[in-house]
Amino acid sequence: MADLGDPVRIIEVVPRPDELPFPLAPQEAPSVPEREPEEVPA
């Protein structure tokens, strides 16, 4: 299976809970990094 074409981008895919038939170990379940809270102008 070596004919997928050129790479386009790299993505970090995070499974949703219960999307797979077994629980994932922490290293197998990447998480979306939390965003810094936006500063609210005073």
Binding site: M1, A2, D3, L4, G5, D6, P7, V8, R9, I10, I11, E12, V13, V14, P15, R16, E19, L20, P21, F22, L24, E28, P30, V32, P33
Partner: protein, 385 residues
């Protein structure tokens, strides 16, 4: 964007929810030490790694390049777990793999959707992923195996074509499937006839090749009636099954039993059959194997036939009805060294176990008389006529 323009540093796009692609798997038998054999989904290509997709855990990409120093997948490399975005393309690839002989040794094929996650290199026509697991499959195996896969992997197997792509030989070509079934029936009928013919011919056979390798161990030491008794009870059986029938400790490996079986095989009291995928079963001589199993025959045992023929010549030349192993060795053109005479003796003993010669007779009181001579039986005379 070219491969060169992508680097791991740029991996910033996050997506929630697995990416779903299409791919195929080979279905292979999977033997396990101390456990019953089972089945596994396996990589379809010859260089596909990891080969085995274990149930209930993600398959994790590895880079098999000896010189590589990166994790998998890697943008400028070919590593990662592959899946196509388009089902038709995946199916075309699948057909190419099947046509290229990758079915050898496989029970069948699975085709379907696969979940991809972790680091994923998105390509023009699909993905190379860090983690993967099958989602929904179509298979071309019998229901029993399809059900086993569904249970092991916890995924639906849909063989009616309603939800997933169809394998070419499952449903898509009913005529061809029916034709194949008819041919299989015909083949089974012919094979059955051939086996019957073989049974008839065995009485008239001039010489049946010795159905075991010519080992160096002495067959005189084989005193192990348990194994033939167990095989008489079970019929052809795997070493694992025999292990259980003999009541051996299930926590111990089959190695010890395998040694005993090999000894029995050298003695000619059991035979081994193999399938093309290397699987092995054991049986008593004369017990027919199931379809698709072939007798293990080693050409090095051909001295057995020569020894019996040389015995015939030695007997004829001496004008008596018997000859010693030494006479047979010399008739064969071997020396009268202990090694050569012993080798001939072992061949003739195997031939005796198979009814071609005899080395001992009973007297009028039924007691065994060991004469130190070899005589040809009626079967042996026919074989050397």
């Amino acid at each position: 964007m070219s491969a060169a323009s992508i680097s791991r540093d740029g991996a910033t796009e996050f997506r929630s929810g697995v990416t779903v692609g299409w791919r195929c798997w080979r279905i292979l038998e999977h033997e396990r030490l101390g456990l019953d054999p089972t089945v596994r989904l396996c990589a379809a290509g010859r260089s596909g790694v990891p080969k085995v997709w274990e149930p209930q855990q993600p398959t994790v990409a590895v880079c098999s390049d000896f010189a590589s120093t990166h994790e998998a997948p890697w943008p400028g490399h070919e590593c990662g777990i592959y899946a196509y975005a388009d089902a038709d393309e995946a199916e075309t690839k699948f057909c190419n793999l099947r046509a290229s002989g990758n079915s050898d040794g496989a029970i069948g094929w699975a085709f379907g959707t696969v979940a991809l996650w972790g680091h994923v290199v998105e390509c023009e026509r699909g993905w190379r992923a860090q983690y993967a697991y099958p989602l929904e499959l179509t298979t071309n195996v019998v229901d029993q195996i399809a059900n086993e896969i569904a249970m092991l992997y916890g995924v639906p197997i849909v063989n009616d074509g309603s939800r997933t792509r169809r394998l070419p030989e499952v449903g898509a070509h009913e005529d061809a499937r029916q034709k194949e079934a008819d041919l299989n029936k015909e083949l089974a009928r012919v094979l059955s006839g051939l086996r019957e013919l073989q049974r008839v011919l065995q009485d008239e056979t001039l010489w049946e090749p010795t159905p075991h390798p010519h080992g160096e161990r002495s067959m005189y030491e084989v005193k192990d009636p348990e194994i033939p008794a167990a095989l008489a009870k079970t019929g052809p059986a795997t070493a694992r099954a025999l292990h259980s029938t003999l009541g051996l400790d299930p926590s111990r490996s089959h190695y010890e039993l395998s040694r005993r079986l090999k000894d029995q095989m050298v003695a000619g009291s059991v035979v081994q059959y193999r399938k093309s995928n290397g699987a092995s079963i054991w049986a008593l001589p004369g017990q027919p194997p199931p379809d698709g199993w072939a007798l293990v025959v080693d050409g090095t045992a051909d001295l057995d036939e020569k020894a019996v023929k040389a015995l015939r010549r030695a007997v004829d030349e001496s004008g008596r009805d018997r000859a010693r192993s030494r006479d047979v060795a010399l008739t064969l053109g071997l020396s009268d060294s202990r090694a050569d005479v012993s080798r001939v003796g072992q061949s003739l003993l195997r031939a005796e176990m198979r009814g071609y010669v005899e080395s001992r007779r009973r007297d009028s009181d039924g007691r065994v008389q060991s004469w130190g001579y070899w005589l040809l039986t009626k079967k042996g005379r026919r074989a050397t006529a």
